[in-house]
Symmetry: C2
Subunit: 342 residues, 2 copies
């Protein structure tokens, strides 16, 4: 096995503002000899997700930052090429967190055999994996939508937002999406089955959103922040719930926006409308919640009740540009890098 | 009864910033003849509370604003002077919401006979009434402190804060107070039994608070906002809970503070530290929670486990100045106006 040539994309520089191609660097190394108790993995699919931007910075966050020169982190689906581990056999498909590289060695501790309920392996990175679980946990355990209530989610054509709205519909709520551009909005309504979807780029976005939510908003699933949050805030009902799983609008910011300071306004609205705002990091909940999520979601996917658009990018070398585009809202659906043939 | 001379304090002008004495006006009227089905009440105690400032403004809030010329609202303990109502007899003590006036007529719908568990009638306006219930509900149902956790509350010598810290101690948590001045801080520790209390006027307040919370903060009971909130925020632990019952720091504000806009920072902290911020208005919870609160709290008060300092102000005419002082943090304990002899 020592002849296997690996390609890795590493963090070359910490981005200032939006990441640039130069913030990444490709390296080529021979894969070391396979140690006892390990497997050699060939990456098939690499997931790209907004949280990656945060890990490229050294600002304090919920996880330590990636070191300069380290391989970019990321969820993957891989084929076991060779195994010296009792739980894995050559040919197995596994999901893991082996990052932006063509091959990886693993001691198996962070790997799972691909669940037999997952027929389409790339879905382990989206609707049946971390983004789907984020939508499921945040919406059902924090948002707790009741039948007839209005649920709003931004990035509604993205990996998390798509699933939020579809689960909201399954629970009898009204699902209202926000997305960038007419094509995405049409897809969100026609394919995903949301009740409506508003283009946040429209000059009258605020008026359109208010008109589309005549009974106000009961659950706002927060994954963007920024101008969308400010537009949603005045529409929140008494007792509204705001699960916060991401704030992509801020990830590339290098400084705080100009004043006035709206924190007093926000806290006042939270008080007088009895709003609950609650942050969560989905990694905290895998041990307790993933199994029941996967059971429910596999069923819904099999029955065609939840679907998701995947946007495939071919080749590991395309990953930096694809992440840059994702952070700018240029993707349409879940972004998956096809690193090698299944 | 038609000879009874009433005194009422009415809203004379909507305050701009801090209320001034001229924003109030005293009026004298004869009390009308007692109609059938009504009682005539003589006010003994009038409660002064921070929420009154909000009701003097016409900014949108959880309750309609008081009209100009209307009697200032407020919780009261009164003696039934005459009754044409089957449920009340002359001589009964009742709690109600009859406002800033010496006498009131009531059809009984907003009155309760003073609960037999309340030996000291003025306590029906504080520890055994709305402020005590605010502390109890917010801390136990939203804050949910666990033994060993750290609970922080500002206005720790005030009607709500006093009770928050004492309940926290009863639940095995560390209680950390914030108050204005050495006298209040000493009282909070020595009499109320908090573990520590920090003077927010100290130039090194932030350092003192951090040093007093070596394990961070698990529950911050928010009743002030402003600089205290900003000082607490970096100390909040992963999974912290922030019940929001009041924001006295902002009540007199006429404009938002200058920038930068810290909302992105606040939302980011909520996300990466999985914080839950939840507003509540205690009026929502009387029907479902007051009875069990009163049972618990009467027991704690009888056993000397919860106590509260009352600051009595003599005479209805002193109420405006006392409210102005309360909003400026000049009170020391629960402010009660003695309107007439028991």
């Amino acid at each position: 096995m020592s002849q296997v040539q690996n390609r890795q994309i590493v963090l070359n520089a910490r981005p200032v503002g939006a990441p640039k191609p130069e913030d990444f660097r490709i390296e080529k190394h021979e894969v070391p000899e396979l140690p006892a108790g390990h497997v050699l993995l060939r990456t098939i699919y690499l997931s790209l997700d907004p949280y990656m931007r945060g890990r490229m910075s050294d600002a304090p966050s919920y996880a330590p930052p990636l070191g300069l020169g380290e391989v970019m982190m990321g969820g993957t689906v891989s084929r076991v090429e060779a195994s010296r581990h009792p739980s894995f056999n050559a040919g197995d498909l596994v999901s893991g967190f082996t990052g932006w590289q063509a091959y990886a060695l693993s001691d198996g501790s962070d790997l799972s055999l691909l669940d037999s309920r997952i027929n389409q392996p790339s879905l382990a990175l989206s609707v049946l994996g971390m983004p789907g679980f984020t939508a499921y946990h945040g919406l059902l355990n924090i948002g707790q939508p009741k039948a007839g209530e209005t649920v709003v989610v931004a990035s509604a054509s993205g990996a998390v937002g798509s699933v939020v709205g579809q689960i909201a519909k399954l629970k009898g709520a009204r699902a209202m999406g926000i997305a960038g551009g007419a094509d995405k909005c049409r897809y969100v309504v026609e394919t995903l089955g949301f009740d409506a979807c508003i283009d946040h780029r429209a000059p009258d976005f605020a008026q359109q959103l208010a008109a589309a939510c005549p009974n106000g908003i009961d659950v706002y699933f927060e994954n963007v922040g920024g101008a969308v949050f400010e537009t949603v805030l005045p529409l929140l009902n008494i007792g509204a719930r705001v699960p916060v799983c991401g704030l992509i609008a801020y990830y590339n910011d290098t400084q705080l926006p100009q004043g006035p300071n709206l924190v007093p306004h926000l806290l006042t609205q939270i008080l007088i409308r009895r709003i609950r705002v609650e942050g969560f990091i989905i990694l905290d909940h895998f041990a307790t919640g993933f199994e029941s999520f996967l059971r429910d979601m596999s069923g819904w996917v099999a029955q065609g009740k939840v679907t998701l658009r995947e946007e495939f990018v071919d080749g590991l070398e395309q990953a930096p540009q694809a992440l840059i585009g994702l952070l700018a809202g240029k993707n349409f659906g879940k972004v998956v890098v096809r690193v090698s043939e299944p």
